[in-house]
Symmetry: D2
Subunit: 293 residues, 4 copies
């Protein structure tokens, strides 16, 4: 297929590369052009704007860091919406707000494009190894048609609902589940320490009990105080919790645990932890208990 | 070894049986005598009181449902402490309060007994299959000496600390981690439903993401509304959270997420869910969001 | 002085009238024109647009219900900003978001206007009786100059800071203090009832203890379940809490009690209490405790 | 009347003195005897034990600092229960746990005594000036009979219910209302400061808005950081919140705001604020927001 890929950050780069390696023709765009040129060896064509990248695409992916970038590169002059041919599909993989996804849905409908929201779970190494978990929200026939493309990116593809934003709500809820696990680890670790116990033992017991790579990964980071380099920056984690609270505020669904996490993450921001890994949320619990670190 | 086992409930019965099958001589006591007699086929001797069961034991296990039962059967007339020979060991596997474990520690020291607290993670089927996770708190040499007995009960044995109550604090923190997962599932499921989405899809994505049997088990119960028969009754789960809050209140370690869970579980009690499985905590989130069930 | 007044709702109408009664010349605008015409007897001139009302004003007041109305009537075609002469002052009394006040500040600066944010505490009867508490944020000399006008509206005028949005942050914090009082009443009343006690006695003791008309008013409403007609609709109260959380999220100030109130109010929305008085937040606590009403 | 008064601390001393000044014959007991002797000038008789003080009393008051003191001086050898004549009344003014009040009720019934629980609101200066708010729980005829005595102690007497513990639950709920006000002030002050605003202005506006001496008193303490000497020690405030959570846990009434306060107060304890005034709860909010003090 003739594809476009807009946004070659830590996640977008390996995803675009996997599409190239799967035999598709991919025209790419990135704000920092050098990063795009690094894909030329794999056969990518480099464009000067999102619109140009999309001009003859059957399907265009975007993987952008936040709402602001998405507004600019999708809806701006020379954006995806301006360049994409009628009846082509935009697959938006960015973790952006439910409100913005609704707006993109409307704008693309107006322009005669199909639109899917396809946020993913996984870190850059999972993206490189085609191990992402891929969500899809949007019209079923379009989602079915695009499924082979999405399967080239991850280990599992889940159809979430016919409204694109539903995929984003699910993504935000998933991130909340991870944040809740970390926040709970944080308060349990503090209690264990104040009781004179050993954090590592608690971690090992939880590893045995839950048997989950996610617990092993994040719990281990907390025990080792290994918050740099950040796998996922705390400020981005807080952004996602803010988006979740905004989205659930609109549909009137209470989130008391997410609210606690919000306040812990805000306290972490106020204590200069914004660029540390979000597992450093545990530090706030330690400090509240009068513990160092 | 010559052992005693006091308390043959859903957990104690298979644990005692596994000690018998491992070749130990076990004298057992249970308030309902018939249950004890069912172990005679496996070689158990049935005693008329905890004291009698312990009278010639090298080590005595207890597995009792709550503080009240433990006070009575350990410290009462004809209790374990009254019957156990000097220098013998009491291994208390009950999930009881940190305060009571401290008291048992003192009383046994006064009586010249060794004392270990050995709470376990796992359900009755895990107990039967020697799949429990066993914690040990108490003097290291005693713990080392008893390790083979504990290994006969489970898949992993963790030494927690030299204070017996530290094992109970860890146990309570572990139950908190499970409760937090369920509470978070509850609020996420409610949000997904209010967004018009499908709970089962969210559950499947989380199963893929966390890859944990605990998530599969409890998350699945919630999606299926399968709260009866209870694997672990909600009122016992609340008891554990109350005990955790009492223990952390004494050592001044804040527990904001545990506090949210306390209030959700109390609301569940107020809505007659005490004997349902504790995963029914999710119902409270649903109801707060104006959803049925 | 030559004044304009835009927005003659429950609050704006008596405020505009008081300015007329103080001897000022006031040109008024309201979307529903009849309401404006009712002020003609007091000397008001009725304009066809906010811009027209402001065209020869030295100072223009606005009292609008939410951000959406404020964007339209201040910044829209024929809005206040379009009509107000250079060097004239806009006094924005609306309880709107901190973000929007920042935007209004910039837009008015660009247009050469002075700008004050002047939100008020008080209900329509307080507005009629010149009993409002008036806040002022903005450049001090302008605030000083406008003080006599503001004193014509209320019983006390407080200068909050040189940034107009600071007045709005203070207003939102004040509404939070009221909401917190009501939420606390709600959970205490529920506890008293579950203990077999009498709500009214608790209310009377609190009335004696705090000696505050605010406690008397709201606490009395809750005891009497008098939630209609709403003095202040619950959905507007939730809007204010959302705005407070947004504003404090930006400056990284945790709000754990406000977060609890958010979730209670959202639960109230989910249970169709949006148009009841916001003191009906207490119903949610009652219901969580398994009580009717 | 012939009275006994047990416990002459900061509160008990002026209360006993007021009973003397009202013309009653009062025999007093205090652990530190010198304090008791200081009342001899006002006509008090000093006893060597609670039992002795009560031996010929028609009514005996107790005002003790916590459950431990109450158990000892009421139920211990030479305690009130041992000395009080049949049909005499014990009026327990201590803020003790609901559980202990239930136990005292039973023990006194067994001994043929009448029993009232009469906790009070107010500080030592209010006790001296007969300005306390007095609660009464217990059998109505007894409460009616004792009313003149209680009226000699305060500005208002409220009958709460026929179960003595109901007065204590109400007292704990009242202290929760005060704590909630202080906690809310704490998070609002932090937000105002982070927004570059002035705490004092916010305080003055709230003083104007609520018009309550309680707001003026505690809010002023927070603005001035005047936490020593403590009017009411934070550790005692936490004790009351713990007691409230225990009592509401038994009757299954959720307390989400009280739970937040619990965690803030625990964090304050962990930061060595136990002997500061409980309004120093506000410091925790400031610190969470990254602010000094």
């Amino acid at each position: 297929m003739k594809l476009a890929f807009i946004g070659l950050g830590k996640m977008g780069f390996p995803m675009a590369r996997n599409l190239l390696l799967s035999g598709h023709q991919v025209t790419v765009y990135n704000r920092t052009r050098e990063k795009a040129e690094r894909l030329e060896a794999d056969g990518a064509i480099v464009a000067n704007s999102p619109a140009e990248a999309c001009s003859s695409a059957e399907a265009a992916f975007s993987m952008l860091s936040d709402d602001k970038a998405a507004v600019e590169l999708v809806l701006g002059v020379d954006g995806i919406a301006a360049g994409l041919p009628k009846n082509a599909v935009h697959l938006s993989a960015s973790t952006i707000s439910v409100g913005l996804v609704r707006r993109l849905t409307e704008e693309h409908a107006r322009a005669g494009h199909d639109f899917l929201s396809t946020p993913v779970f996984g870190r850059p190494d999972a993206a490189a190894g085609r191990k992402l978990i891929v969500l899809v929200g949007g019209e079923s026939p379009v989602a079915d048609q695009m499924r082979p493309l999405l399967e080239a990116l991850g280990r599992a593809v889940f159809f979430v609902g016919t409204e694109p934003w539903q995929a984003n709500l699910l993504k935000l809820c998933g991130n909340f589940m991870i944040a809740s696990m970390m926040g709970s680890f944080g308060e349990a670790f503090a209690a264990i320490r104040k009781g004179g116990g050993d954090q590592r033992t608690f971690f090992e017991v939880m590893d045995e009990l839950f048997g989950s790579p996610v617990y092993k990964n994040y719990g281990g980071n907390i025990v080792d105080q290994k918050f740099e380099p950040a796998g996922f920056e705390l400020k981005l984690g807080l952004k996602d919790i803010h988006q979740l609270l905004a989205a659930t505020g609109e549909i009137n669904s209470p989130m008391p645990i997410a609210s606690v996490l919000r306040d812990l993450l805000i306290s972490a921001m106020a204590n200069n932890q914004g660029t540390l890994d979000w597992s450093s949320i545990a530090r706030i619990s330690a400090r509240s208990a009068g513990l160092a670190g």
